[in-house]
Amino acid sequence: MENLMLLLHGFDLALTANNLLFCLIGVTVGQFVGVLPGLGPVAGTAMLIPLTYALSPTTAVIMLAGIFYGAMYGGTITSVLINVPGEGASVITCMDGYQMAKQGRGGNALGVAAIGSFIGGVIAVVFLTFLGPALAKYALKFGPPEFFSLMLFGLLLLVGLIGKSVIKGLISAIIGMLLALVGQDPATGVDRFLFGQIELLEGIDFVILAIGLFGLSEILSNTEEDMNLKKPEKIAGLIPPRSEWKSCIGAILRGTGIGGVLGLIPGTSASIASLMSYSLEKKLSDDPSRFGKGAIEGVAGPETANNSYAGAALIPLFTLGIPTSPTIAVLLGAFIMHGLTPGPLLYAKNPDFVWAVIASMFIGNALLLIMNLPMAKWWAKIALVPYNLLFPLILLVCMVGVYSVNRSLWDVGMTVAFGAIGYLMKKWQLPTAALILSFVLGKNIEFTLVQTLSLSDNGLWMLFERPISGTLLTLCGAILIFGLYTTIKNKRGALAADESA
């Protein structure tokens, strides 16, 4: 109850004309950095930090937080319309979102993503308000062994998701893992696979990989086809048909839960949240074969999950002073720059600040919903632009986007190289999503494994001894066995059918 009063007071502070204006600026900028490939929330927040010098700390953080969650809305747009994921959390959205856009249902996809994002974002903020502080401590129980098991779980889900051929999925996933090895060995600090290039010391940048494998390869493979064909006749509206409401709402609520819980745990990523949500939706679906061909739950769930993750991820920052993701780390920098010390004392020392920022997140999410619903209709029209105009434009935006991150031609060259690899992968029907997600997970899997082994007295046993980690690994085992069982059964079934035929 006391929190409710404080929150109302927070609204009082957040609704001043000034704070409202900067909240609007923040979410608008966020939306646009999300849309521009290459520019993600990390770069967007970082670039605007210097501009916040003149603002009060509260106004500054309201604006910067707006960029963070605003980008989650924006990231959806490129994934759905041009198959370029803005950040890791949107990779999975490409799978069904882009298919929907091709069928002229881009509006539906964006509409449901905006509504889901709003619901996920708001529920996460409610969470932040009332349960955050109590739960944040529990989240610390996640140590290296737990992370390892969680990432492994994610990887297994991934294998279950990809395409028709398990073998091809595994090939992609393994290439992704290998790419994750470029950089420094976490166990020894020795650099590996640099080929003499210092630019590779910190590993391959996710943005480069995503734009190359998704954006460029899509353009390359489409140029082989007749440019004048396969345009959708007309664009469906924003609100999905009534028949899909029930499954959408279910997907949104489940996505909210998954994102909220994972956001609380420092060290997880929004990609895992969206991956888990997608795979859950596919498992629960009456007809899993629809997924990958434009299933609306495949957009609704993951897009909700990454927004609710974004809201929940602020909890560890506010309560423990621990940034859970690169963007949050930039936000932490902004706090410090404005003389605020995030952490356990923040609620006690700067209550006005905390509650004004929390209240602003309600307002910001509402602004984003208002902005996105009508805008989605315009965005969706991109699908009607003739390819011979659209592709050069996408190419330009992608290249400028990649160059802008570090102003490095090396990065541009790498993107082109990955574009070619992605093109070949499409030719050979190797799923690119599996590559990129296993790349994201692979880095963490290796690092947490090294950490676990250096913490453990008895090698890998530690992974099974710890309750959370053990449970996750048991789940992994169950998925494997179930997967094998169904594969064998289906094979037998198929054989039996063949014989009887």
């Binding site: 990390v42 927040t45 930090i49 976490p186 010391l201 420092p266 621990i322 936000l331 952490g343």
Partner: protein, 321 residues
């Protein structure tokens, strides 16, 4: 006509040339100066850079433009500084010991040498710290050493990973105290904090300014700092040396010019930086940012970098850390 034009133009051109030479002599800077920061905006180095430059602007008359060139653990930005135009309008922030360690550890892959830079001023020396959670039985560095002696290879220490300056500090501690403990690598301070607060490790080594929020909230306790003298941020906390570990571990943040820049220009900038450092505005900012301040002028700074270079090369010849 042509001739008239020439006779009119030549002296005019000469005059302009003379003026610009004179200008370089007298009034520097004439325009804003580009400052390369080898780390992303919002990071520790960037924050120091922006707050000192904001104040320094008062004394140079012209502004500074911060140019973040992150990548390869700073090597990209340092390389950009080494190869920057030497006209006085590009400077850059450098981080010792990282800038010293890169060429030693990575050899040919790093395209700059320490000699490529002329130090201008150092502002911050952020000491290394050993920290434990508030309820830990470890109260002093000696407690830790005793504990590690009694249980060889059992006590768990979170650190920044092999190849870092923390790694060298821990190696030296093991050698000097004759102990062995378990070193768990983490990428950055945040996951180290998570692990320490979650009880997954017994202690961590990091930098003073990075764990201030948790120390202030009394969830963590600092048992020793790596500077030569105790620091204001953690009053009463002994230095490594006072706690029985003869070693200095400090992360420095300062500004340097590419080699070949005019000595007069360097002098002008060094003076402006010193004034900015002494300015109450910067002092106030630094206090809010919990920055452990430590000024060094061009000579001291240069000597310190050379000292580090010699020391680190020796250690590296013994064996990489």
């Amino acid at each position: 006509m042509k001739q008239i034009l020439m006779t009119a133009l030549v002296p005019a051109l000469l005059a302009t040339a003379a003026v610009s030479v004179q200008a370089a002599d007298e009034a520097y800077p004439q325009k804003p100066i580009l400052a390369i920061v080898a780390y992303p905006a919002g990071g520790g180095t960037d924050i120091v850079a922006r707050s000192i430059l904001k104040t320094a602007e008062k004394y140079t008359g012209k502004g500074f433009v911060v140019d973040n060139r992150p990548g390869a653990g700073g090597a990209i930005g340092f390389t950009a500084l080494a190869g920057a135009p030497k006209d006085g309008y590009t400077i850059g922030f450098i981080n010792a010991p990282t800038i010293v360690m890169n060429p030693i550890q990575l050899g040919d892959k790093v395209k700059y040498k320490l000699d490529d830079f002329v130090p201008i001023a150092n502002f911050v020396s952020d000491p290394g710290v050993f920290a434990v959670s508030a309820d830990s039985p470890i109260k002093t560095l000696k407690d830790f050493i005793d504990m590690a002696k009694a249980n060889p290879g059992k006590v768990k220490m979170a650190y920044g990973g092999p190849g870092t300056s923390e790694s060298l500090a821990l190696r030296t501690l093991e050698q000097k105290a004759g102990i062995k403990f378990r070193k768990i690598p983490f990428e950055g301070t945040a996951p180290q904090l998570t692990a320490l607060m979650g009880g997954h490790v017994d202690l961590m080594v990091s930098n003073a300014s990075e764990i201030f929020p948790q120390v202030e909230a009394k969830t963590l306790r600092v048992i020793a700092v790596g500077s030569d003298k105790q620091i204001d941020l953690y009053p009463g906390v002994p230095t490594y040396k006072e706690a029985g570990f003869d070693y200095t571990q400090v992360a420095m943040r300062g500004v340097a010019a590419p080699k070949g820049m005019d000595a007069k220009q360097i002098k002008i900038l060094a003076d402006a930086m010193k004034k900015a450092y002494d300015d109450p505005e910067f002092k106030k900012n630094a206090k809010e940012l919990h920055l452990p301040l430590n000024f060094m002028g061009p000579d001291d700074y240069s000597k310190e970098l050379k000292r580090q270079d010699t020391f680190l090369r020796e250690e590296f010849t013994k064996s990489p850390w």
